[in-house]
Amino acid sequence: MGKVYATLTNLALVALLTTAASRAAAVETTSENFVVSATAIQGTSGTTPRMNFFGVSTVNCISYAGKATAAGTGSIADANATWKQDQFNGTNGYYYVELDSGVTADVVRTDAATKTLSLNNQSVSLTAGNAYRVRKHLTIADIFGKNNEAGLQAGPNSSQADNVLLQVPQTQQVLTFFYSNVPGFTGWYSDTYVAAGGVVVYPGIGLMVRSKSGRGGIVYLAGAAKEGPTLAPVYPGYNLLGTLKSQRSLKLSELNLYTGDPTTGVAAGPNSATGDILILLHPDGTSATYFYSNVTGFTGWYDTTYTASANVLVAPSSVFFLQRKAPRLAFYWTIPAE
């Protein structure tokens, strides 16, 4: 606990210094609340690996903020921009743009001459005057530490080391990473031995850690609390999602997941067999499944024992699986503002 306290103090100091530095190079319209968090990863007490689930409740601080000076689709034109060529892409890392609406899109090119950011989402549309913010994506190395500061069990392969698991909802794959302690190859790698420290963890995505020893670890994060709405894609199949909330719990009824339109939110149904379902993971390792009932007189969130569940809380940093049942298509979930 002493170590935790000391590290938290250091992190708070870092946060203060970061803020002070930001003030010196201030931006008039941007203010952020900074959050420091420490999430305990528990090791196993036996031979069976233990799964840990958590959501990242912070984002990186704003790298750039401005307003579009011309309308654009799939790109942002800002005649007042001061960015450098490729400042937000390529070897500088992975960045994304967020708009006030909650829409986000990855930056694929930063053009200093034309003062244009090219985005990977061609459906993103801005008009002159629309505010935008550029943030750097969090990566595996950002979250667990470039040198495994989280303290997970390292190993020569993914079989012996603890695993960081990242669910990819588009493909329904689960990617496996580990911290290699092989001399000359230390660092984060995928289970296919591809360097993975730079793998992006998108905002709102949940993470899993499979602990194989008793040592566990602690994930320290310092960053900005994500304020304002955020749009997160929900794909057919399972999606491991967090609420991006660092401070308050949300009721199921506050999640904005049910919109009344099955093309923009979860599909209701007479039971959990037909409706989309939300699987909330509990600290004791159990889970509970919820669906949105459209039965007359019984509309709302219910669990699989048909108990009204609108007030069930989703705690900060916790995660849940959302199963979007085929053949329904993907939709964008508007994660409520902090």
Binding site: T19, A25, R50, F53, Y64, K67, M208, G285, S293
Partner: protein, 220 residues
């Protein structure tokens, strides 16, 4: 509007807030799987002797020993019981409907690896006192065993990829032992058969023995 340059005095100060230092624990799952099972709303409900099974009767979820011949032993409560591995049970209750409508819904979690990858069965009882089956099944008036070939009727493996959860529904039943089911998955029913009368069991046993002797003689 530039982040890197101060063009105007800052009229809105950067909020200097180290909001909180959270020490929170990740949600932990130590190989726990959660299984839902139901004859719920808009699914087949359960009938016995032409009526919905009343509330407080019991539906059990579990598996039978792999290789156990369910068809051959469907009438033998003792044999069934010895091969049965119960995960949990739940009582019939009102589910978005009037009471005594032949419906149940339950959920249970386990870390017992004995259930890993086993086929799920529902063993549903109607008792004379509309309660749980007594030891020895003395109060059991009827029962049915139901399962499905659907992929979700398998207990999740504790070493599998999350989410370690599945739900099984009466609307998915396509296998019945000592019972039957309607083709209509929404408005239809699962039907329990009565417990065989001892005399019936005796006759069946006698018939089996006669058949065995006849075959033996034929071979000789």
């Amino acid at each position: 509007m530039r982040f890197q340059q101060l063009e105007k005095p800052m009229d809105r100060n950067m909020k200097l807030l180290v909001v909180l230092a959270l020490l929170c624990s990740a949600i932990i799952s130590r190989g726990q799987s959660t299984i839902g099972y139901e004859a719920g709303n808009a699914e087949r409900n359960v009938f016995f002797n032409g009526s919905p099974v009343p509330d407080n009767n019991v539906a059990e979820i579990g598996f039978f020993n792999p290789g156990f011949d369910l068809s051959a032993n469907a009438n033998n409560l003792t044999a069934l019981n010895s091969a049965w591995h119960e995960l949990a049970f739940t009582s019939f209750k009102a589910v978005f409907s009037p009471p005594n409508d032949g419906r149940f819904s339950g959920s249970s979690s386990t870390s017992d690896t004995a259930f890993d990858s086993k086929n799920i069965s529902l063993w549903i009882f109607k008792t004379t006192d509309n309660a749980a089956p007594a030891s020895g099944f003395g109060n059991v008036a009827g029962y049915g065993i139901f399962s499905s070939t659907a992929a979700n009727w398998i207990f999740p493996s504790q070493s599998g990829m999350p989410p370690l959860t599945t739900s099984v529904y009466s609307s998915e039943v396509n296998q019945a032992y000592h019972g039957t089911f309607d083709a209509d998955t929404v408005n239809g029913h699962l039907f329990l058969n009565p417990v065989p009368e001892p005399a019936t069991v005796g006759l069946l046993g006698l018939a089996a023995a006669t058949l065995f002797i006849a075959r033996s003689k034929r071979r000789a």
